[in-house]
């Protein structure tokens, strides 16, 4: 449940790199660019050179073998700096879908380029507020696919999409479709976090290949849970950063001739938030550990991690704004960037209410 020597080293290396190449100002610049790219190619290249996209995968599969614990440690650092890259969409989600749902041949063909970062893929699976196998309205007809997806991360910048669909028998399958294939229409949208998402509609779009078979249902569920845990790790990093920045401000800002950090009303609110933050952190580490040890109740771990990080990220972002006073609502302060990212993260892959409900069902409530 804690990082080993190698994972600590990996974390520190990535942290150093991000401090240099992707501090928060980098996100600010990216956000304000006219053509609004999803990420800076330079930064992504650097992350790939460090091996970040291959961190989790076992060495036998061409990865670096740091496991979910290693990738989670990277995501925490990413969350602290709001670094924009296709780590979540491609290196985590798309890789997991191929690894869990693909045939041996598909894995052999597709995974290496995702591990090296030479290709970028994203998963299009959401039609409402979260993925729901029962309500999919994307259909497979021979080698074509028709339907709509929303909130697809990095949609317009990926080389290809992995799209959940139902075949004629109602079985879940996943179509691999090039982003520029005929019949694919991507409407890109920059959300308040400065990052790129897209609504995608498919009209008899040509599918290059199908990931299909019995393993797809459980495999996709696992891939989704894995991504949920990694997103929670990012949210944990953001929450920690918010707490530390706020504590630092309270240690320095003076009013009534004293540091505002001496006011007990503020102290107690932060101390309570800290307790909740550590419970969320323990849940994230336990979930990463569940991934690495192939625990059979991964879904419970994932839903708990997402709910607790979602709630504390939202809470701490509000508290951080409030405790920075007027400064807190200026765009000049980075706090606002975390505030906005927290709201987007909360919605991605199912919000707290959804995951709480799923957890309740899993626990028989």
């Amino acid at each position: 449940m804690i990082l080993n020597e190698e994972q600590l080293l990996l974390r520190n290396t990535v942290a150093d790199f991000l401090n240099k190449e992707a501090p928060i100002e980098a996100l600010r610049m990216l956000r304000d660019k006219a053509d609004a790219p999803a990420w800076e190619p330079e930064l992504w290249r650097g992350l790939c050179e460090l091996g970040a996209p291959a961190a989790a995968q076992p060495e036998e599969q061409g990865g670096l073998g740091f496991g979910a614990m290693g990738m989670g440690a990277i995501m925490i650092e990413v969350g602290r700096r709001l670094s924009a890259s296709p780590l979540l969409s491609s290196a985590i989600f798309a890789q997991a879908v191929i690894r869990e749902c693909g045939s041996a041949q598909q894995i052999g063909q597709l995974l290496p380029d995702l591990l090296s970062g030479d290709a970028v893929a994203t998963v299009a699976c959401q039609e409402g507020t979260h993925f729901e196998a029962e309500t999919i309205r994307c259909f497979r007809e021979n080698n074509q696919l028709t339907g709509c997806k929303n909130l697809v991360i990095d949609a317009a910048s990926a080389d290809y999409l992995l799209v959940t669909a139902l075949d004629r028998q109602g079985h879940l399958c996943i179509g691999r479709i090039a982003s520029d294939a005929p019949g694919v229409a991507i409407t890109p949208r920059q959300l308040m976090d400065g990052r790129q998402y897209g609504s995608v509609s498919f009209t008899n779009a040509t599918v290059e290949e199908w990931l299909e078979g019995e393993q797809v249902v459980s495999g996709f569920a696992r891939a989704l849970d894995e991504t949920t845990v990694m997103l929670s790790a990012e949210m944990l990093g953001g929450s920690r950063e918010l707490l530390e920045r706020t504590v630092a401000y309270l240690q320095e800002r003076e009013q009534f001739d004293v540091k505002i950090g001496t006011f007990q009303a503020l102290q107690h609110r932060l101390a309570q938030a800290y307790c909740q933050l550590e419970l969320a952190a323990a849940s994230v580490y336990a979930a990463m550990n569940a991934l690495d040890s192939a625990a059979d109740n991964l879904a419970q771990y994932a839903s708990r991690a997402k709910t607790l990080t979602g709630d504390i990220y939202q809470h701490l972002s509000n508290e951080a704004v409030q405790m920075h006073g007027g400064m807190g609502v200026t765009d000049e302060m980075d706090i606002g960037l975390f505030l906005k990212r927290s709201r987007v993260c909360n919605q991605l892959l199912g919000d707290s209410a959804y995951h709480k409900d799923r957890f309740a069902t899993l626990r028989g409530c």
Partner: protein
């Protein structure tokens, strides 16, 4: 199999052999085995279980064997704990000496004090009480005024302590007393061990909202205490007091495991009493969500404990982390109690119904209100977390 697996196997077999089946159920208050000259055993099984554990030194598993303890290293102690939990073995012995004074003596006691007191604690021969709080000194403990005057080879102690849990049946009490009235508050305090049977000690029980009277006011009227009973240096009792509080808070964070264990599965309780939908879910969606929240928090707390344990072992523990446990643990317990009461509805409004199970649950709800007060209130915990944990200014 490595050494630890072997140890686990040995422990498992030993417990299987020595823990009677009747001692493998949640503990209820009437059946707890409290140490001391007035100790009684609810059954022959309970006595056998206590004696087996005592003789193995496992009433104090991690204390050194030379004082009668189990001599286990942290890993082994944890294995024992896990195996006891797995079999649902009851705690074999209850005593504040075991939980609090012992660890403090191990850190600060003289060789003679350790040799005198620790073995008797392990063997459950003495019941200890805690004499910290006073009518005028609660959260602000350092303002205590019970005084100990130097009278040559002994002290003369006068004053009063309050909220002293079970002082009426205790054999000994560890006390904070003022030995220098002119020094700054924390620098004039000493830590004394006092025999409750001494001339001039008396107690008066106080009734609680749970219907019990667990604690007392304790009076000291010119009580003679030998100087050999001073723990640590004169006027340096505050350090001992703080060491002891560390153990008290650790204990309180996991209070559920030592207090009366009402093993209510809240989900089962709710489903057996309230409406359930066709899909087998609780129809009350709001309650369902709050139950899920509680289960998540409880799981997270157990993961946090695990994380702290592992972090400590690996030498990479953030020292702020353990400070959170008492606050989190006691509030979670109370949240659980409130959910229980809500689920019981009107059946949860009496402590004197004709269903003892039910009464016990309700009494615990009331009793557990004390957990966010005793051992340093929640507000004091938050002060500590904010200042010592987060580094906010005083």
């Amino acid at each position: 199999m490595d050494e630890r697996d072997l140890f686990r196997q040995e422990v498992r077999e030993w417990l299987e052999t020595h823990c009677p089946v009747s001692q493998r159920q949640p503990i209820v208050r009437e059946e707890q085995i409290w140490a001391g000259s007035q100790a009684t055993f609810p059954s022959a099984d309970a006595q056998a279980w206590f004696e087996a554990m005592r003789d193995r030194g496992w009433t104090a598993p991690s204390w050194p064997a030379e004082y009668g303890g189990g001599g286990l290293d942290p890993d082994q102690a944890r294995i024992l704990e896990q195996e006891m939990a797995r079999l649902r073995c009851r705690p074999p012995l209850y005593d504040m000496g075991l939980w609090m004074l012992g660890p403090a003596l191990l850190a600060y006691g003289s060789p003679e004090q350790k040799a005198t007191h620790l073995p008797r604690i392990v063997r459950g021969e003495v019941r200890w009480a805690q004499g910290y709080s006073e009518p005028g000194a609660g959260s602000d403990l350092a303002s205590l005024s019970t005084r100990a005057l130097d009278a040559g080879d002994h002290f003369v102690v006068s004053g009063t302590k309050i909220w002293t849990t079970r002082a009426d049946v205790a054999d000994w009490i560890f006390c904070l007393v003022r030995t220098d009235a002119d020094a700054p508050k924390r620098e004039g305090i000493s830590f004394l061990l006092i025999d409750m049977h001494s001339q001039g000690v008396s107690t008066r029980p106080i009734a609680l909202i749970s219907g019990e009277s667990e604690f007392c006011q304790t009076f000291f009227d010119e009580v003679k205490v030998p100087k050999a009973n001073l723990v640590g240096e004169l006027n340096e009792g505050w350090a001992v007091a703080k060491e002891l509080l560390k153990h008290e808070r650790k204990l309180m964070a996991t209070m559920e495991s030592i207090t009366e264990k009402v093993d209510v599965g809240l989900v089962e309780l709710a489903k057996s009493r309230l409406a359930v939908t066709d899909q087998g879910r609780l129809a009350n969606a709001d309650l369902r969500a709050r139950l899920a929240e509680h289960l998540m928090q409880a799981d997270a707390l157990s993961d946090l404990n695990e994380l702290i344990y592992r972090g400590m072992k690996a030498g990479q523990l953030n020292p702020a982390l353990p400070l959170t446990l008492k606050y989190i643990g006691t509030h979670e317990q109370q949240r659980k109690d409130e959910l229980m009461l809500e689920i019981l509805g009107a059946d949860g409004l009496s402590m004197m119904s004709d269903t003892p199970e039910l009464d016990r649950m309700v009494r615990n709800w009331a009793y557990n209100k004390a957990h966010t007060i005793a051992g340093g209130t929640s507000e004091i915990q938050l002060n500590i977390i904010a200042r010592r944990g987060l580094g906010l200014p005083e």
